[in-house]
Symmetry: none
Subunit: 242 residues, 2 copies
């Protein structure tokens, strides 16, 4: 059952674990390549690969002749990121409610198999939820969840806690991907959102990873008249987010 990770990945996990747990604070020094060679009993090239890849991912900064250090990771706060809609609505002083449309266990289609980065189709939890702000539908949520990571996902009561909130509290998220497009709603979506066929919608697709495995894929459909996505943040000298 337990898949043996490659050595360099084990070293990466070890270092990343110490960073995320806060044991190694930002700016502090991580073991040098030769120290990792000693403690893990590996070759220097393997230690080099672990440190080099973590540096490429932005977790570490390497300085020739000096050492390797934990990088400062400013929180990139924005509404485009992982935020659950219930909090957003309540932050506006409005009332959030939700209607559970579908809750089932399905087998992944080919497209979903690709999304989850699997080679073969596997079982998936599937959920369809309509979120309402003061009784008016504002978001249609299609969600698929990897059962291997969130095994008890389907037995949750999602009228009290949104799927996003449950996943955020249960699984640590390493990586997020968002994709936004404009779509015209189909008949089912029109009915569930209470809109006409002529109203365009935003379709926000979100994938989240934990330890290089896709945890969940969600498609969030917003009627254009009722919602706009928004973000604002500071940047560094290169024009990239901090």
């Amino acid at each position: 059952m337990n898949v043996m990770l490659p050595l360099y990945a084990q070293v990466k996990d070890h270092i990343l674990g110490n960073i995320k747990s806060g044991t190694w604070a930002a700016g502090s020094r991580v073991p040098s390549e030769n120290e990792l060679v000693e403690s893990f009993g590996i070759s220097r090239m393997t230690a080099n690969r672990a440190l080099r890849e973590l540096a490429g991912d932005g977790y570490l900064a390497r300085v020739p002749g000096v050492g390797t250090f934990v990088k400062e990771q400013a929180a990139r706060t924005s509404m485009m990121e992982l935020r659950n809609i219930a909090e957003e609505i309540e932050a506006r002083g409005h009332k959030h409610s939700s209607r559970l449309i579908t809750r089932e266990k399905v087998t992944a289609t080919q497209a979903l198999t690709d999304e989850f980065e699997w080679k073969t189709p596997k079982p998936l939890f599937h959920l369809v939820v309509v979120h309402e702000e003061n009784g008016l539908p504002v978001q249609l949520e299609y969600r698929w969840v990897n059962p291997q990571i969130a095994a008890d996902f389907l037995i949750q009561n999602f009228t009290r806690q949104t799927p996003t909130a449950y996943l955020m509290n249960t699984v640590p998220v390493d990586e997020l991907e968002h994709s936004v497009e404009a779509i015209m709603p189909d008949a089912t979506q029109q009915k569930l959102l209470g809109i006409t066929a002529h109203e365009p919608c935003l379709a926000l697709q979100r994938r989240s990873w934990s330890k290089d495995q896709v945890v969940t894929v969600a498609t969030l459909v917003y009627p254009a008249s009722r919602y706009a996505l928004h973000s604002r943040y500071k940047t560094n000298a290169q024009g990239k987010p901090l």
Copy 2:
């Protein structure tokens, strides 16, 4: 003058050049590690590093036992980064071109005065540009620029350098704001983008600040069928992106 690049970087450049120039189309096979060993006279580990890093960057897909292939680059743009569309298109190995529709000096409307955080209306530079990917319109850019910060903006030749590129090189950006909504195009937009009245569009509004002053306001309209906005990033050390 010439800085000698490391061997693995030279190999990466060679492969990337063939992708961007379109010599190697999406789906086509790139040389195997052993073939690179032969043609470049390098060791297999060096070839491996070049291919592995390009795969990590999303340019290549590697299949054990089969080979390495040029990946399809989806027509998507990053909403988190301040990146100019010309680079994005060229990174996909396609050709970027642009048509300047309007170039003028105007006085800010009340709405624009608010956007620029001014108390009274002031002069503004205004530009309308259509960006094309392989000759097909993919973005309609409405841009307003603060003349106090970029005084020589209007005399630039924007067929060689995009407005975004010019501003990125001229003014350091401290802060960015994005807002996305779904719209139906009006008659003018339909004509400029070459789309029908029934195709929804993404309208991305962007404001950027430098030293607490608004530098530029831009509205970027993307036909839904040709573009999706995209972002992917690692979360912070605490795994709590918000």
